[in-house]
Structure formats: C-alpha cells, structure tokens
Subunit: 261 residues, 4 copies
C-alpha cells in the first residue's frame, strides 16, 4: 500500500526541531536550500510519506504530502487568506458535501477555494469570482498547484453584478463590501441554502447583517473564533502558548428564506 | 428547481423570534407541539425550504432541511458531542475528502460521525468503534436519521484492540484514554496520514501528546478554540454576547511517521 | 491579634459545598435563613474570621469579613456594575493612590465607587456624579454599608455640565454617552493625569476614542478583558470551566495633554 | 496648580506616531537619544505634564510623569514580571488598602512590589522576600527609582522558611513552587485574610490548589485573564488587534480559615 513520492508532486518538508515547513515541487535535478543545509530532490523521490531525509549538513527533515491545511497556508499570498480555524467553521456553515456547486465571491489568493474544491470532489464545482485580474491569476496558479483546477470555474466579476449561475448549494463572500453581492447571492442560491461571509471590522459586520435581514435571509449568526495553541511539555508542564493570533475576522452565516410576495 | 419538503424527510423548524429550533420527522397525520402552538405536518409537506408556516396560535415558523450542523446539534445525546466549532477544525486536521476511509474510535452519540459521513460521500466510509453497546445503538439511530447509514460501518471494540481495517486515510479518537488506541491507530493509518483527538483535561492532553511522540507520530499540534457570538443590533450597537461557552476540549493532531527500524 | 466579629458589622457567609455566599448585617436577635437552614446572628457574633458555624440543619458555613470584591458583587443593583476583572484594570489605568481625588461620572450602583474609596483612603476623596437621583440614592446606601461614606462626595449632575471640582488626579466615566462628559473631564483633570471609561458597544468605543483625540487627550488605549475560571480537580483533572462570561465592556484609558494655544 | 517637571524626577516620553515610550531620569546636562533624534533634558525640565517637546530632528514627544503601570513595565527585568492585566486582578484578590501590611514572596524584578507600595501608601508596608540576592538587588534598584523604597522591607529568604512577620493583611506568592511557602503564609496571615499566587503551568496550578486546601485555606478561586487590545480607527473601522498576548499565568486566590483543633 506504500505509495512513494514521485517527481512532479508537491511535497511538504518539516524541520521538526525548528518547527519550520517548506512546500516544494519535486523536480528531477533540483535542490532545495534551507538554513539547515540543502536537500537533493532525488533524495526525496521514492520515499514514503513520513520518512526522514537529511540535508547535506546532516539536519533531519520529514517528508509528507501536504494536507489541505498545508496547501492553504502555503499559497502565494496577494491578499489576506482565510485561516484554517475560520475555514473549518465556514465549511460547517456552508454545509458542504461531495458534488456541491458553490459560489465564492472574492477568490483572494485561492486558499479557501482549494479547501472547498477538495471537499466538493470531482462531481462538485466552485464558481469563483473576483474583480481583480491579478488576484485571480495568482489564485488560479495556487489552485493548479493543488491539482484541483478542474473543480474551479473562475471569472472576473464586480460585486453587485448577477452571478452567471444559479440554484447553487451555498455562497461564500470574502469582500470588503459583501452587502453589494448579497442580492445577487440571494438570486443564485437554491431555496433554503446557506450563505457565509467574513469581514474584519465591526462596522462591516453590522452593515452585512442588516443587508442579509433586508434581502430575504434568515437566522443570521455572527461569531468570531479564537484559536489558542497549547505548549505541551512533559517536564516543564502544560500551558497555553504566550503568543496568539488575537483576531482574523467576524464570520456570519444565514439561510435563504422564500420571498413573501 | 424547487424541491418541496416531503413526508418521510427530516425538517428543521425555526422560531425566529425566540431563536428556538426543532428537528422533526415529517409524517402524514402528525402534529408538532411547541410553546408557540402546534403545527400540522401536512401544513409543512409540499412547502419550499425557507417558507413560512404558522402554528394554530398564529406564530410564524420557517421550515428548512437541516444543515449538517443542525443534525449534529440535534442528535439524541447519550454522551458529550463534538461541537461544530471543534468539528470544523478537526475536518481540517483530518484532511477529509470524498472517498476517504476514516477510523473513528469513540462513536459517542454519532454527531461527528454524521459530519464525516457527509464529507466522505458515497464512495467513502467511516469505520466507527465504541466499547459501549448502548452508545453505539443510540449513535446508529442518530446516523440513520441523517440518511448516511450506508457510509458508516460500526463495531464494538475496546480501546487497545487492533482495528479490523488498515491503510485508512485518517483516525479520530474521542476517548477518555486516547493513548490506549494510539498504537493501533498507527498500524491502521496509511503512511504520513493524520490522526486527531479531543480530550477535556490538561493531564489527558499531556499523556496523549507523550504517547503520540513515543509511538511514531510527528508534528503534534495542540490547540483549543473559543467561539464568541456577536450581538449585532442596528440601533443599540454591536458587541460580543455576554454569555459564552468557555471550554469544550483540547484538540490534538499529528501525522504518522515511518518507523525507523 | 484576633479581632472577633461584632454586632453592627457586615459579614460574609460562605457555603463551601454549593459555593454560595451571603452578605449580612450582624444584628442582635436576628436570624439568617438559607436553603441550607437558618443561622442565629448571635452564633456568628464573637467568632473569628474564617471560623465555621453551623445552621440549624447542621450545614457548615464559614464566616468572613467581606473583601472589597465581595462588597462590590453584593451591592444592591439598579444598574449594571463594573465587574472585578474590569475594576482591577481600571485601578491601574487611573493610577490610584492613597490621598487621590477622583471624579466618577455615572455612580451606577456604587460598586466601583466602593473600590476607589477603599484605595484612596481617608485622605482621598471620590467625587461621584449621576444624573439619576434613584441611582444615586441606591449607590449611597450601598456605599454606606461599606463604611466609606465619608470618602465619597455625591452630587446630581448631567453629562456635559462642568464638574464643580478641579485639579483632580483621575476621572472615570461610566456613561452611555461618555463623549458628553469628556470636555468637562479635561478641564477638571490635573496636567497629564489619566481618564478611563467603560462602554458596552463598538460604536460607543469609536465615538469615545474620537472624542478623546479631539479634546486634548493622548495615548488612548482600548481593550477588553476575558476572565476564564479554571476547574482544578485533583482526581478528574484541570481544565477551564465550561461556562464563562463572554463580554462585559470595552475599557479605554488616555492622558490629558497640554492644550496647544 | 501646575507642577512642572524637575531635574531628579523620572519622566515618561511618548512618541505618539510610533507608540514608543521611554522612561528616563531627568538630569541636568544630559541628553536622551532615540531613533527619532535626541532631546536635551534641559528641554524637558520646567515643562508641564502632557506638554510637547521636539527632538533635534523635529520629531514630537509628549512628556509625562509615569503612571504606576509605566513604572511596572519599565523596570529592568531579571525575571518575568507580573503584567498590569494580572496585577489589577491581584490587587482585588489581595483586598489592598492604605496602611496594609503585605508579604510578597518572590520579589522578582519588583514590578508588582511597586504597585503594592503605591497602594498601601506611607502607612503601609510590603515585606518582600526572595531567595536570590541578584534578583533582590535589581528589584530594590527598580523600587528606589519609583520613590517607594521606604514602604518596602526586603530580605533574603528561602521558600519554606517562616516569615519574620505576622498578622499580615495579605500574602502574595510568585514562586515556581508556591506550595513550599503556603504553610508559612498561613502562619503569617491575620484571620480570614487572603492569599494570592501566580503560576505558569497547569501542573503547578493543581499542586498549589491542593496545598491550599490541605493547609487551612478556603474558597480557592483560579482564573486566567486574556487582554485583548482594540484597534479603533475612525475611517477603516473598529476591530480587535491581530496580535495578542495569549497567556501569562494562572492566578489563584484563597482565604485563611480558622484551624479546627
């Protein structure tokens, strides 16, 4: 059942001592340089996941295929990304399933797109929009690297324009002005299906919730998540880590109601 | 594209004023009683998701198909469940995908099983174990109600016994003594694949991380998540809610390394 | 050095099993009724702090003189009070010291007044203002019970009116519209001295900080505090408590600059 | 009522643009060098608190007398200090008042000693102990700079040795092994009076609470505090800051019971 790493794959190198990770594309004849020495790609090819390789200076690295979380964190960033802690909550809010058809407005750097593409599978589709061509190009490069490019259909679109797809299973908005896209999201959603959005500021949260309530959405729920890393040391003891990300964004979810006419 | 609610389905009723929800099985001739009056199931049948129905006392309810989060929160509980905030993080840690084969030890009330079953899809499989027959029976009833029973293979097993399946894509442990199952989890996992676990106490966290490090796992990461609801009122203002769940559990994830022999 | 409890004193009864506390005024001939039976005040009189007394049903209580935190939490409330976690931070922000002269606008129920009165001592003075006579009366009754009534000078005043005292060492504002009182606070403060305020909503926070910046204050700092109780059990283990207060208010502090003329 | 800054005083310089602060001793003929240019001390002398001075490169600074929080944060550190957020809570737990006599075991760098010295006033006394002469020397230098040296009586002592003072109003322990000092703290405390302690790890928290319960203390309460800074921008909006201190320590308080003999 062993399935060795091959040239052409994306590989995660973990330097366990320093807790540093590198995501590289395995290429015949290449070499990866780190602060702890260099590693020949040919030394990685043929290895099993979880195996140890050594740099030319004798430093140990573990080789893995990247998990979706690794792929998200390692995208080339032209924008703020949706962080894994928030992404997990959004997956739940959007009620994803294999085969789902999802609209994403604000492709950003594509990190969350990669996650959704993994979860909707080959039968599903992510319709991703952004108004900025440079963001779109970068995101699509990131998505291609994950191998999910066939699951994503990307298009330039301004917030407020109607989405060129309908009856979708969920809509995700990552925009400075999500309210601009809420009426179009309503039209594109299948009955009763969820929308979710993320915004950084309290004022945006307020405006977005107002707009949801005014445009046929119900059961809006707004939260934020604090992730706290624990330091687990067998001798010195267990405690939360001193450093922590204090804030990433406010997350909102709501469901499409039937219009009263 | 409208797909009306039918008898035999599970339906979520939301009472928007009180923020109360009910999950009911729609049955011909039945009636649902609430503090805001009763509703004939035949009044719900044929409705579109997101439509309004009224109780006999004139109180408004919205009808929806339950999202996976609703199904998780509405399981009949014989145990503590994995809450959505933690479930989302665990989905990321376990790197789920359609078609994945997952071991779950500690089926509990089946809430997290339902989520995993939704996400691995029809091609995937959740191998769920528990040592307690009463928990297993209750969990399987909950899972059946979600319609995912064919995606779950459940079996009575004690922590520490080998799992009767191997080369799985991920292992999730929800046990008072997860360390007892860690060596068997190692054997059952495909190379490099992740394990995740949840425990409530600092002492268990310490013991579990030690056991992971001693049994061929690498890159252990331990966290907890705080979810904070926001109160978004257009007139009075925006602020976090006064009440909050302070703690549910410590979450740990790690990846299988290749054994050095 | 033992200093027994006397009639006329305020006494704290702690029921350790249930973690319930009662604050009572010790009166000859009185009896205190609880869910765990009744206690004669004469059974408490003459006891040492920390001593055990029993109710008529055999239930144990510990008797103490109240700490300032107990007095704050046990005021008769006609308003939201400043909670101890926030009060401690505010004490630091206000740079209190024995002998200090402090303005408080929004006496509320007097809880924070009691704390400040304890800390400024007999040489200090708290000038407390409120526009509502009913709040003021209730607060003064609470303050009298603490024995600090001579340290507090209370007066009815509307936010925006000049304070009838100047060169004070600090100003504390607990008002729905603290900005209304900020210019008067500027005039009343000694050079360089601090102001602090508490508000519940993000909009108020924004308006208050703007007003501070526009009215001669510098170095504004805004925070909130989350207090998390720990459950420390020798056998079952250590973990945060499941329930937690999620939010009380935003705290702001700033210092008076010299006006540029 | 203006009270200008004089040579010999300690002065706080705030660089508002960069949010940098400096605490300097004002000396005739001296000059203070910063990344934004240098400032002659004679340019500061005679100023009012809150006044602006300019460096030789034209950069603006505000001059203030330090608040007690500034003094705490600016001590020369040979140890971890008690941070203001925790210090405020501890002040409440210790029920400080002018004239109080307090034991502190683990003087550390003297930051918390300075705060307690300010609050107990000229009539009070802080009895500070530490086993390390180097810590003690550094702490006393820090305390002298605050001008509170007459309020502190410091002595070398090992945890576990009896305290050479009794009937004190409160005891504060900042030690890796606070349990070693708990029996001596019991003996030194006046009846019913509080003890508080701070420890970084869950294991220490557990051991400390056990020791309190076994040695005549009641009503132990254990918490931790999360301080979250808010970013308040008039144009861009209000939100929590992205960076945050995730953890400093667990705080415990308890009260002395009367021994049952």
């Amino acid at each position: 059942m062993v399935n060795p790493l091959e040239f052409g794959e994306t590989v995660l190198l973990i330097e366990p001592q320093k807790n540093r990770t590198y995501m590289i594309d395995l290429l015949e004849g290449s070499k990866h340089h780190t602060h702890q020495g260099s590693i020949e790609h040919s030394d990685i090819e043929g290895r099993e996941e979880g195996e140890e390789v050594k740099s030319n200076t004798g430093c140990s690295f573990l080789v893995f295929r990247p998990r979706v979380t690794d792929r998200m964190l390692k995208v080339r960033r032209k924008t703020q990304i949706v962080y894994p802690k928030d992404a997990g909550w959004l997956i739940m809010a959007l009620d994803l399933f294999p085969g789902a058809r999802i609209i994403e407005m604000g492709i950003g750097s594509g990190a969350f797109t990669i996650l959704m593409a993994q979860l909707v599978g080959e039968e599903g589709k992510i319709f991703s929009f952004d108004r900025r061509e440079d963001f779109m190009d970068n995101a699509l490069t990131n998505i291609s690297r994950s191998g999910y490019e066939n699951r994503v259909k990307a298009e330039i679109l301004n917030a407020g324009e109607p989405f060129p797809v309908d009856n979708v299973d969920a809509v995700f908005l990552d925009l400075p002005n999500p309210w601009a896209a809420i009426p179009a999201a309503y039209s594109a959603l299948a009955p009763g299906r969820p929308l979710a959005l993320i915004v950084p500021n309290a004022e945006q949260l307020k405006e977005a919730v107002k707009c949801l309530n005014d445009n046929g959405f119900s059961a809006a729920e707004s939260i934020e998540l604090l992730e706290r890393k624990m330091l687990v040391r067998q001798k010195e003891g267990v405690r939360p880590l001193e450093r922590m990300v204090g804030f990433t964004g406010y997350l909102v979810t709501a469901r499409k109601m039937k219009e009263n006419k």
